[in-house]
C-alpha cells in the first residue's frame, strides 16, 4: 500500500517534486501541494494534475482534510519557515524530509548514508550543491586517505534560483560546508555558490577540490570516484563527471596554518536536469528533488501503513 505524502512549498522545488512523485513513485501517493501564494504556477499545475492544492502554510495544511493519514511531508519552503514547521508536523507524528538548508535534522545523501537515519523524525537534504559534491568527497575518503579539507564551487543558472534560494545564500554555504564534513568525511569543508544569468541558461556545474593525505593511491581514488558518480546517476540520471579527476601533488599553504603536503584532487561535474518542471539546465533543482524522492521511497518502504 502506498504512503500518503504532502509537499509544503509550491515554488520550483515543490512543483518539480509533484511531477516526480506522480510520474515515478512506487511507494508514495501525493495527498497535497501546499503553498502560501494562491496565484503560484505550482498550485495551478498541481490542480491541473489532479493534486489537491492547499493555500496557506503548515497550519492550513494540518487543518485541511487533505492531511488525513499523511505520514510524511516534504518541506520545500525556506530555512526559516522550516524551523517553524518542524515542531508542529512532528507533533502530529508526521515525518519530515526537509529540502531547505535549515539542517535541523541529520543530513542524507542517498549514495552515502541512505539508511543511517531511517528513524529520524526530520531528515535534511542539505543543499543542491551538497547532493552534487558530497559524494565525490566521500568517494575519495572511503579509499582510506585522510581528507583534511574539501572545497566545492556550485554554479547554477540564475533562472533556476527562486526567491527561497536567493534569500538563503548564507545558509547554503554553511549547510553545504557542514555536509562536506559530517557526510563527506572532510575535516573541514568550504562551499561557494555562483549564480550565472547567461542565456541560454547554463547547466548546473560543480567543482570539487579535495585535499588528501600524502598516501593517496591515484588509481584507487579514480576508480572510487567513477563508481560513486555512476551510483549517483542511478537516481539522478543527468549527473556526470566531465573529466576523470585531476591529481596534483602540492604543498597547500592556508593562512594561519602550517604548510600541508598532499594531493589536490579536482573533480569537475555537470548535472543536467530531467526536465520535469523546469528545463534541463536546472540540474540543481533536479538533484535535490531526485535525492529527496529516493529518500522518500526508502522511508515509505519502512513506515508501517
Amino acid at each position: 500500500m502506498k504512503q500518503r505524502v504532502a509537499i509544503l512549498g509550491s515554488g520550483n522545488i515543490g512543483t518539480d517534486l509533484v511531477v516526480k512523485i506522480l510520474r515515478t513513485s512506487k511507494n508514495m501517493e501525493l495527498a497535497a501541494l501546499v503553498g502560501i501564494d494562491p496565484a503560484s504556477d505550482g498550485l495551478e499545475r498541481a490542480r491541473r494534475l489532479g493534486v489537491e492544492a492547499v493555500v496557506g502554510g503548515a497550519e492550513a495544511f494540518l487543518a485541511s482534510p487533505a492531511s488525513r493519514d499523511v505520514a510524511m511531508v516534504f518541506d520545500a519552503t525556506s530555512a526559516r519557515a522550516h524551523v517553524a514547521h518542524a515542531g508542529i508536523l512532528q507533533a502530529r507524528g508526521i515525518r519530515v524530509i526537509d529540502l531547505t538548508p535549515a539542517a535541523l535534522g541529520p543530513g542524507v545523501v542517498p549514495v552515502v548514508n541512505l539508511d543511517a537515519h531511517a528513524n529520524a523524525p526530520d531528515v535534511n537534504m542539505i543543499t543542491c550543491g551538497g547532493q552534487a559534491t558530497i559524494p565525490m568527497v566521500w568517494a575519495v575518503k572511503r579509499t582510506g586517505v585522510d581528507v583534511p579539507y574539501a572545497e566545492i564551487v556550485s554554479a547554477i543558472a540564475s533562472r533556476s534560483a527562486g526567491p527561497g534560494t536567493r534569500a538563503n545564500i548564507d545558509e547554503f554555504t554553511a549547510t553545504t560546508a557542514r555536509g562536506l564534513e559530517t557526510i563527506g568525511g572532510a575535516r573541514r569543508g568550504k562551499a561557494i555558490i555562483i549564480l550565472n544569468p547567461a542565456e541560454p541558461p547554463v547547466l548546473m556545474r560543480n567543482t570539487v577540490y579535495v585535499l588528501a593525505g600524502p598516501l593517496a593511491d591515484v588509481a584507487a581514488v579514480t576508480a572510487s570516484v567513477r563508481s560513486v558518480a555512476a551510483d549517483v546517476a542511478k537516481y539522478v540520471p543527468g549527473y556526470r563527471l566531465v573529466q576523470d579527476p585531476i591529481f596534483e601533488e602540492t604543498v597547500t599553504r592556508m593562512p594561519g596554518e602550517p604548510p600541508r603536503e598532499g594531493w589536490k584532487i579536482t573533480c569537475l561535474l555537470e548535472v543536467r536536469g530531467a526536465g520535469h518542471y523546469l528545463p534541463e539546465y536546472a540540474g540543481n533543482l533536479d538533484i535535490m528533488t531526485a535525492a529527496a524522492l529516493r529518500v522518500g521511497e526508502r522511508l515509505a518502504e519502512r513506515v508501517p501503513a
Binding site: I169, T173, T207, T252, R253, P255
Partner: protein, 328 residues
C-alpha cells in the same frame, strides 16, 4: 567626492593574495598620510575568499585588517564581501576588527542575493556599498533596476563595477548618468585598465557626478590593474577637481612600495587586453595563465572561450574546464 583605494584588496589578485602584513601596513600608512578617504583590505575575492578556487592569502584576514586599522589616522577602513563566498559571520568579524565600510558585491543581475547582507550590514552600523559587478554585460535600464534593488535594501551607495575593464567611454557615461538620475543614494565607479581606459572612464564618472571612485597605487589590481590612483589624482588636480588627496606621497608610494611588488607586470599586455576585449572577469588573468601553462594551450583562447560561455565573477573553476576542453 570620496576616493576609495583598492591597492590592498584588488591588488591582492596581482600578487596571488601574497602581501605580507608589513607591506600592507606600509602602503596603508602612505595612503592615510596622503589623506585618501577609504582604504579597502580583503582577500581579492572578498572576505572568506581563501580557497583553492581563488588562492589562499599569506595571512589571515583578521591579521591584515587589525594591522592596517592600527595605523589609520584619517582614512576609514573598508572590506569587500561577495554573497555566496563570504557570509554575515565574516561581516561580523570585519566589524569587530574595526571595518567602517562594507562593500557587498554581486553579479550585475543578481542584486537580490545581497538583500540579507545589506540589511544586516545596516543594522550592524556599517557604511554600506552595493557593488554591481560586470556592469558591461547588461543594458543601462536593467543595471538601474538592479541598483534600485540595492538602494531599497539600504545601501548608502551603489557602484557601477567594470570588472572586465570592458566598458567604453560612452557606456561608462550613460551608466553613471542613469544611476545618478535614478537613485537617491550615492553612486560609485570601479574599473580595470584592460582597454587602457582606467583613468579616462573614471574621469567621465567624476564628470557625471559619481560620489565615490575606486583606484589603486600603480594600478595594483586584477588584470591590467585598476585606475591608477596617483595618475587619477594628478588628472583631477589639473582639471581643478578638489579631492583633498596629496599627489607626491602617492607617487612615491606607487613607485617605491607598489611597483616593485609587481613581479608579473600589471599592464595592458596581450592577455590583459583580451580580458577587456572579450569581457572576462579581470581576476581570471593569473589563473588562466597558470592553466595555459599546465595544459599547454594559448591563454588568449581560454579567455575568449570564457567570454563566449559568459562566465561571471567567481567562476575560476571553469578556467581548467575550458583549458581541458581546448586541449581536447
Amino acid at each position: 567626492m570620496i576616493v576609495n583605494d583598492v591597492t590592498l584588496r584588488d591588488g591582492m589578485h596581482a600578487l596571488s593574495h601574497q602581501y605580507s602584513v608589513e607591506q600592507m601596513v606600509s602602503i596603508a600608512r602612505c595612503l592615510d598620510e596622503a589623506r585618501v578617504d577609504l582604504i579597502e583590505v580583503s582577500h581579492g575575492d572578498g572576505l572568506n575568499g581563501n580557497s583553492f578556487n581563488y588562492g589562499f592569502s599569506a595571512h589571515t584576514e583578521i591579521e591584515y585588517l587589525e594591522a592596517v586599522r592600527a595605523v589609520l589616522q584619517h582614512a576609514r577602513l573598508a572590506a569587500l564581501l561577495l554573497p555566496g563566498i563570504g557570509t554575515i559571520d565574516d561581516m561580523r568579524m570585519a566589524r569587530a576588527a574595526g571595518v567602517d565600510t562594507i562593500r557587498i558585491a554581486t553579479h550585475c543581475t543578481e542584486a537580490d542575493i545581497a538583500a540579507q547582507h545589506i540589511e544586516t550590514a545596516r543594522e550592524m552600523g556599517f557604511d554600506v556599498v552595493g557593488f554591481l559587478m560586470m556592469a558591461h554585460m547588461i543594458p543601462v535600464a536593467e543595471l538601474l533596476a538592479q541598483a534600485r534593488k540595492m538602494e531599497s535594501y539600504g545601501a548608502h551607495c551603489v557602484y557601477v563595477v567594470d570588472s572586465a575593464g570592458a566598458l567604453l567611454m560612452d557606456e561608462t557615461r550613460e551608466r553613471i548618468r542613469a544611476l545618478k538620475n535614478g537613485l537617491s543614494c550615492q553612486v560609485g565607479f570601479h574599473n580595470h585598465n584592460n582597454l587602457s581606459l582606467g583613468v579616462a572612464n573614471t574621469v567621465i564618472a567624476v564628470q557625471e557626478g559619481a560620489d565615490r571612485v575606486d583606484a589603486s597605487l600603480a594600478g595594483m589590481g586584477a588584470g591590467a590593474g585598476n585606475c591608477p590612483l596617483e595618475v587619477l589624482i594628478a588628472v583631477l588636480d589639473r582639471m581643478g577637481v578638489e579631492t583633498g588627496v596629496a599627489l607626491y606621497p602617492l607617487m612615491d608610494a606607487a613607485d617605491r612600495l607598489v611597483r616593485p611588488l609587481q613581479v608579473r607586470p600589471v599592464q595592458t599586455d596581450g592577455n590583459a587586453l583580451m580580458l577587456g576585449y572579450a569581457g572576462v572577469y579581470s581576476s581570471f588573468l593569473l589563473h588562466t595563465e597558470r592553466a595555459a601553462r599546465q595544459f599547454g594551450v594559448d591563454a588568449r583562447d581560454v579567455l575568449v572561450e570564457l567570454g563566449r560561455r559568459r562566465m561571471v565573477g567567481g567562476q575560476e573553476d571553469m578556467i581548467v574546464d575550458v583549458a581541458l576542453q581546448l586541449k581536447g
